[in-house]
Each structure stands twice: as structure tokens, then as C-alpha cells.
Symmetry: C2
Subunit: 353 residues, 2 copies
DNA sequence: CTGAAAGCGCTAACAG
DNA sequence: CTGTTAGCGCTTTCAG
């Protein structure tokens, strides 16, 4: 235990550095920030030495207060355990890191109250911008962040947001409905007639309608052949998929193909199929949505729709930061004009269909 | 576009509230914080009305500066896409949320430089505490946070940290070595002789030795029967597991059982086995580590060691916050005494062994 | 019960 | 090129 050797640095501030270096506090600032005033090389070195000797680090809290800018982004997702969100948040974080921004993450667990609490927290903590990833977004929430001039941005699928809310927030959307349509066509081509869809929140969660509307595309494809799917609204976890599939497959006329709202559900379906000794894809075709990493490693490998998660994330962060503006003295955050940017999805055919 | 109807709240501060309510700024504080001075019910109401009318919210940045406390915790993990980390971070976040703390997450990607950058960032941002989850922790890093009096805590496996560093930081550890031993015994009981182990970072990542030492327990078990495993150090992703397993299984005398350092690797192994038409568990037994949710849904279901992730996380947050102290005026953070707390692991036998 | 005022650590305009 | 200083929004001591 050599704890005795640790030098306890009692809150070294910029004042201490100034005193130690024999300069004014302003000069310390000029050196730390490379401006706005020039500093002679000699003084610069003295300051740097002082900084080093004292182990000084800028207090970002004080700096944020002064600058009216925190270099922090708030990210709201429903659940970081779901790889769809984990992968997007990871991409956001990585991209933001390179631009020297930090990320505050909030899991709403599809709970509107909890989401509101995070919203309030983000506002109080003065995040420079906010990203909502596939969360239910009541118009009051958007109004709120607009009131506070916080640039905000929605990542999700086309059709996620009701149209009257859609034009209130800048969005980067993947073509989820089209993705659903591609799945429908694909399954049709494989000769399937009786198809089911496990998608969307349970009926008793009225507000959480995310990932629901992409069913539209699927249904449209089927309707072109005068078919229509059985739909189960069940949730979004492995277990939800497992449970729904059991119910579906133990019926009299079970579907020959199941399309799910995300890959977790699909993997749950695969698990149910295995338990029921159903051969996939021969006796049952399964198609997911998201293309999480695990989709390529389950047995059989999962056919799914690839969402361009990285592009979504990077696009979002870049757009947000572009709009944060870089007025030195803080200045107004420039409101994000309400636009929509679309990214393509892609059908990835693997072994499960 | 009814943007015109949005009231633009130009930074409402406590001063505005005070003026509007016709009281001093101090009183506004007393009301907002329920203290430290009492306020008459009448004034209280006036202030509350003002707050409501103006849409005032406390500026946490200013508050943090004044209080020398940010109600923010920094969490360092290697990669949030790995469900092991995702589940732990999620539990940390949930628990912290209820205590009104926010979480700043940094993915180190097993990169020491990046970890250091995050460390610096957390220090500058004045987090009230830090949690390291299974990250490589050089003693200089610990010395640094000790110098700044930041309560910090390590979550991981026994054996993760070299012993000379171990007594520098408070740790909450699961019994990973014992877990490895249980796996060894289990596989031995199943009659396996030729066993392999895919664990630990690639050889060319000298610093990232996490998840490596739990092999000790496995080897010990085998050595009791005068056996020893083939060891491949390969990484920690699905693909690493897949690749390592292919290499292992296409040899002349392939192992009959493979133990991996985490569940991702194990799922990769399962995938390789399927490609090679190897029946699991008949021709090959596979055992993972972590018990991520997916382990129960892959085909076949994965035998693994359960790490008490939630307990680890909650224990960590509680311990940290207990030590942050609640001196109103800020006050010293009380250093965490260097202790170790152990949590049990558990063998979960499913279909893959 | 209420108010005045000091000060947390920093930036940047402005004066020299 | 360097220094002085106002002020970001808040909490809390202390005096009334």
C-alpha cells in the first residue's frame, strides 16, 4: 500500500497556474485555448511548465457555464441491451468522440414518463444537442426542446412518427416501409402463402408504436397477391419472439413464413422452431429486421433487412454539430430546419428463408 | 408548419424568476431546493407560479460549479456492443437514474490511449465517481484518479488485475477463476479429454489481458486429471470465435470440447460447428462465459457461466454514491478504501454440453 | 422568514 | 503581448 506517495492535488485552478507562472489568468486562458490573443513563446512555455508542474486541468463545468456550451450530446433510446440500439449508440459515441463531444445516454424502456424525465435532465444539463433513436416522440416533447432552442434530431424508420409531428423535427430515416415490402416480395417469391408478422408493442402499450408501421410495406406486398398476414403485436425481445412463435406454430394451420419487427424477435422464433423440431427454412421461413451482428451467427443464419446503422448515426451527429454553431461567446444555437433525410435499407438473404 | 406558435424562451434564469415573483434570488433557491432556509407558504406559491409561468429550469451546469458536484458518473467499458457490457451498463444506468445520477459512458475499444482520453475527459468534466468495467487498468491511471480524489471502482473478474494494482482500487469482482474451474469439472464429468480454450486478446494486444486469467481455473480443473487444454488467444467477437473454432476443428485431432472466454465467442464456435456439420453437443461440447441473454436462445442453447451482472452494477453504483458524500457545500469526496468484494458465479447447464 | 453579497472557475472584451 | 475585470447562473452564509 504505497498510498502515502500519492500527491493530493487540491483542486488546482487557473488562478494557481497564473500565480505559479507569474502571469495573469487571462494569459493562462490564451495558452490553454490557443487564443484569442497571441502569447509570446517565452510566456507560453512558462505557463505550460506551470500547468505541468501543478497538474492543472481545465474545469469543463466552469468553462461550459462561461461558454454556454457543454460539448455534450444527449441520446435517448429505448433500451441499450437491444443490439440495434447498442450499435447505433456505439457509432454515435465513436463519431462524437472524434469531434470531442461526450454522450449522455438515457434508456427510456419505452416509458414516456421516464423519457420525459431524461428530457428534463438533458435540458437542465444543457446538452448542446439531442438525438432520439426510434423512440416514441409526443409533439409536446418536440415543442419543449424547440422552446429551449436545443437542436434535436430523430433517427428511425419512415412511418415511425405520425405525419403531423414529423415536420416538427429534423429526421434521418431509413426506408423501413420499403424494407418491409422487400421482405414481402422475397417471401412471396419463395412461394409462401400463409405468413405471419410479429411486430410492434403489445396492445396494452398504446403509446409505443415504433417499429409498427413498417408492417405497411409487408402488407402491401402481400396484398398485391391478394394475401394478408396474421399479425401479432407482442413486444421486442427474444422471449417475445419465442412466445409468439409458439402460439403461432402450434395452431392448426401454422404459417410457413414469419416476419418479425426486429432480429431479436426473429432469433426467438428460430429458437421456438428448433424446439418444435421444425426445419428452417424448409418447414418455416424466418425473416428479421435490423441486421444485428448476431444475425450472421445464429443457426441457421438469419435473413433480414439491413439498416444502415453507422450511416444513420454519423449523419445524425454531423448534422447536429453543424447546427450547434461555434460562436465563441456561446451565441444562439441555430434551430434545425425540419427536414427529412432518407437512407436505403437492404435485404440480406441468408439461410433462414 | 406551426412553428410560429412556439414561444421562444430566452434563457430564463433564476434572476428572472426572482424579479417576476418580487423576491430575492436567494428565496428562489430556497424554494427550488427546499432549503436550507424556510420560506413562507405564500412566497413559496408566488415563486412556484413564476417558475411555471416563465418555464424556468435550474441550470445544472451553474449548480454543479457552485456545488462542486455534478451528479454524474463516468463509466468506462471496452465496447458497448458486447452484451456483457451492455447489460452491465444498462443496470448501472437504471440504478443511477433512480438516484438521480446521470451516466457518461466511454468505449475504450481496448485501446489504452483512448481510455486515457476518456479518463482526462471525465476528470475535466468533474464526474463524481468512476466505474471501470473489465478494462485494462494501468497503475498510472489509478494513481491519476486518486490524485484527483475521484472515487473509483473496478468491476470485473478476480484475476483481471495484477495483484500490485489490485490494492489501489476498490473492486467488485465475480469469481471468474472459480467459474473457469466449474467449467473444467463439468466438461471432465462429461468425459472430455481433448479440450480447447478460446480466450483472451490476440497476442499482438499485449496490454489487453482481461478475461484471460479465468483460464487459470479451467486449467487447474484439467490438471487434476493430468490434462491440459489447447489455448487460442483470439479476441472477443463472434467472428473471432468462428475463426478460432474453424482452425481448431479442421485439425487432425480436433478437441471434443471448447470453452470460450465469453458467450459471443461461444456463439461463433456454434456457428462454425454448424458449418462443419458437427453435432453439438454429441460431437462437440461448447461452453461460454457471461450468460448474456442470447445464450438462452441460440440453437442449441448455450451452457455458460452466469455472471451476476445486475448485482455487480448495483453494488458498484451504491458503493460509489455512498462514498461521494453529501456535504451541501461540496466538501471533499471521501476516498474509497481499497477493498475487494466478491460475488459468486454459477454454472448454467443447457444444451451445448 | 427574506435579502445582500461573496464566490465556484472560467472566457474575452478592452485597456494598456 | 499582457493584465484587469465583468459576468456565466447558482448556493449559502450572514445580517436584518
Amino acid at each position: 500500500m504505497f498510498k502515502g506517495s500519492i500527491v493530493l492535488k487540491q483542486r488546482v485552478t487557473r488562478n494557481d497556474v497564473a500565480k505559479y507562472a507569474g502571469v495573469s489568468t487571462a494569459v493562462v486562458s490564451y495558452v490553454m485555448n490557443n487564443g484569442p490573443q497571441p502569447v509570446s513563446e517565452k510566456t507560453r512555455l512558462r505557463v505550460l511548465t506551470a500547468v505541468n508542474d501543478l497538474g492543472y486541468r481545465t474545469n469543463q463545468i466552469a468553462r461550459s457555464l462561461r461558454m454556454q456550451r457543454t460539448r455534450t450530446l444527449g441520446v435517448l433510446i429505448s433500451n441499450s441491451i437491444n443490439p440495434y440500439f447498442a450499435e447505433i449508440v456505439n457509432a454515435i459515441e465513436t463519431y462524437a468522440f472524434n469531434l470531442d463531444y461526450s454522450i449522455l445516454v438515457g434508456n427510456t424502456n419505452n416509458n414516456l414518463e421516464r423519457q420525459q424525465t431524461y428530457l428534463d435532465s438533458f435540458i437542465s444539463r444543457k446538452v448542446d444537442g439531442m438525438i432520439f433513436v426510434s423512440t416514441t416522440l409526443p409533439s409536446e416533447a418536440i415543442t419543449l426542446i424547440n422552446e429551449f432552442h436545443i437542436p434535436a434530431l430523430y433517427i428511425g424508420s419512415e412511418g415511425d412518427i405520425e405525419s403531423e409531428v414529423q415536420n416538427l423535427i429534423y429526421s434521418i430515416l431509413f426506408k423501413g416501409i420499403e424494407g418491409g415490402y422487400m421482405v414481402g416480395r422475397h417471401l412471396l417469391e419463395r412461394g409462401h402463402k400463409r405468413m405471419a408478422c410479429i411486430i410492434g408493442a403489445r396492445q396494452d402499450y398504446p403509446y409505443v408504436s415504433m417499429r409498427w408501421l413498417r408492417l405497411k410495406g409487408f402488407s402491401r406486398a402481400l396484398s398485391e397477391e391478394s394475401l394478408s398476414p396474421v399479425v401479432i403485436r407482442q413486444g421486442e425481445t427474444f422471449f417475445d419472439g419465442y412466445q409468439a412463435a409458439r402460439a403461432l406454430l402450434e395452431k392448426d394451420e401454422p404459417p410457413t413464413a414469419i416476419f418479425t419487427g426486429n432480429d431479436l424477435l426473429a432469433i426467438g422464433v428460430l429458437s421456438a422452431a428448433a424446439d418444435l423440431k421444425l426445419k428452417v427454412p424448409d418447414q418455416l421461413a424466418v425473416c428479421g429486421f435490423d441486421d444485428i451482428e448476431a444475425a450472421s451467427y445464429v443457426n441457421p443464419r438469419l435473413t433480414t433487412i439491413r439498416i444502415p446503422k453507422r450511416e444513420l448515426a454519423e449523419n445524425a451527429v454531423q448534422t447536429l454539430i453543424d447546427h450547434i454553431g461555434c460562436h465563441p461567446q456561446g451565441g444562439e444555437l441555430t434551430a434545425l430546419s425540419t427536414k427529412i433525410h432518407y437512407l436505403e435499407t437492404q435485404l440480406v438473404v441468408r439461410e433462414s428463408t
